[in-house]
Amino acid sequence: MLLMLAVGTVLLAGCHRDDDIQWQLTNVSGHMPDLDFQLVDDHGKQVSAQDYRGKVVLLYFGYTHCPDVCPLTLAQLHVVMQRLGPLADGARILFVSVDPARDTPEVMHAYVNAFDPRAVGLSGPAREIEALSKRYRSAFTREPDRADGQYEVSHSSAIYLFDGNGKARLLSTPSNTQDQMVHDLHLLLSLGARS
C-alpha cells in the first residue's frame, strides 16, 4: 500500500512536472506552431510531419554545399546523440534543405548518413520548404552566383526541438552548449517515454 502510494505520488509528480521543468534551452512551448510539412525524404519517399509522431524531432535548415557551418552543426548533433545512448533512438534529426535545386534525395541520403544514422534528409518543392521555414519565422536567401556558377545560401542557424506529439518545445542557437542540448533532450525524451 505504501509502495502504491509512493508510485502514485511519482506518477502525479510526473504529470505536473512538465510545467516546472527547468529547461536550459529557450522554451518556445505555446509560441510556435506544431510540426507540419509535406516533403520528400532521402529515400525519395513522400513524407509528412505525421510520419515522425512518437519521435522527438530536431529540425535544422541547411544545404549540402555548405562546407563549414552545416557539417559542424550536424557533427555536434551526432555527438549529442551519442551522449544520449539508447535514448537517442527516440529522436530524429530532420535536416531540411534550403537548396532543393542541388539537393536531390540521393545527395541528401549520402550526406545525412555521413553524420548520424538517426538523421533524415528532407527536400522537396521550393514552396513547401519556404512554407515550413516561414512557419518557424526562419528565412533563407540564395546569395548571388560566383564566377564558377556555384552559390551559397544564407539560412537560419537555429535548431527547433519538437516533442513526440509534434509540439514545438525548445529552440537551440549557436550560443547554447552541447551540455545544455543533452540535458534538455534527456528530459524531452523521458517525457515522451511516459506519455
Binding site: G62, P67, L72, A75, V107, E152, S157, A158
Partner: protein
C-alpha cells in the same frame, strides 16, 4: 664619417638585410591541419592553426592544392540568427601570435577534388602569404562527423 658612427649603421644595415630575406612563410608554423571530407564531390572545409614566430605581422592570402581545382578563403558567421559564409581576402596572423582556421569561423573551402579524397589521406595544401612566400602543409582527411583534427 668616422668609424664610431659607421659601425652601428653597418650593423643596422645587416639587420635590415636579414629582415628583408626572412619571408612571412619562414616564421609560420602550421599545426592541427585537417579536412572535413563530405560525400560525393561536395565542397569540403579545411582547418589549421597558424602560429607566427616572427617579429612582423603576416597574413594568409590564399591556398592551393594539387587535389582540388579551387581553394577559397572563407569566413562563416551567425549574426542575427542567420548563418552566412563570405569570401575574405586575407587573414592576419599577428607577430608572436596565432590565427585559427576552425569550424564556424575562418576556413579554406576546397572544391572540385581531382580524385576522391578518402578518410586518412594526407592532402598537401600550399598556403601563400602577403609577401608572396609559401608554406606547404599536410592536412589529414577526417570523416564528415569529426569535430577536430584528432580522432
Amino acid at each position: 664619417m668616422s668609424l664610431r658612427f659607421a659601425l652601428p649603421l653597418f650593423a643596422a644595415g645587416l639587420m635590415l638585410a636579414a629582415g628583408a630575406h626572412a619571408t612571412e612563410a619562414q616564421h609560420i608554423r602550421a599545426s592541427g591541419a585537417w579536412i572535413r571530407v563530405l560525400p560525393g564531390d561536395l565542397p569540403a572545409g579545411a582547418y589549421v592553426t597558424l602560429e607566427n614566430t616572427g617579429d612582423q605581422p603576416a597574413s594568409l592570402h590564399a591556398a592551393r592544392s594539387p587535389n582540388y581545382a579551387e581553394v577559397m578563403l572563407h569566413q562563416s558567421s551567425s549574426a542575427g540568427g542567420v548563418s552566412r559564409m563570405a569570401m575574405v581576402d586575407e587573414l592576419a596572423i599577428p607577430a608572436h601570435g596565432k590565427a585559427e582556421l576552425g569550424p564556424g569561423g575562418y576556413h579554406l573551402m576546397l572544391m572540385k577534388a581531382t580524385a576522391p579524397v578518402k578518410v586518412g589521406d594526407k592532402i598537401k595544401l600550399t598556403l601563400s602569404f602577403g609577401d608572396g612566400s609559401t608554406l606547404d602543409a599536410d592536412f589529414v582527411a577526417r570523416p564528415a562527423n569529426a569535430t577536430g583534427a584528432q580522432p
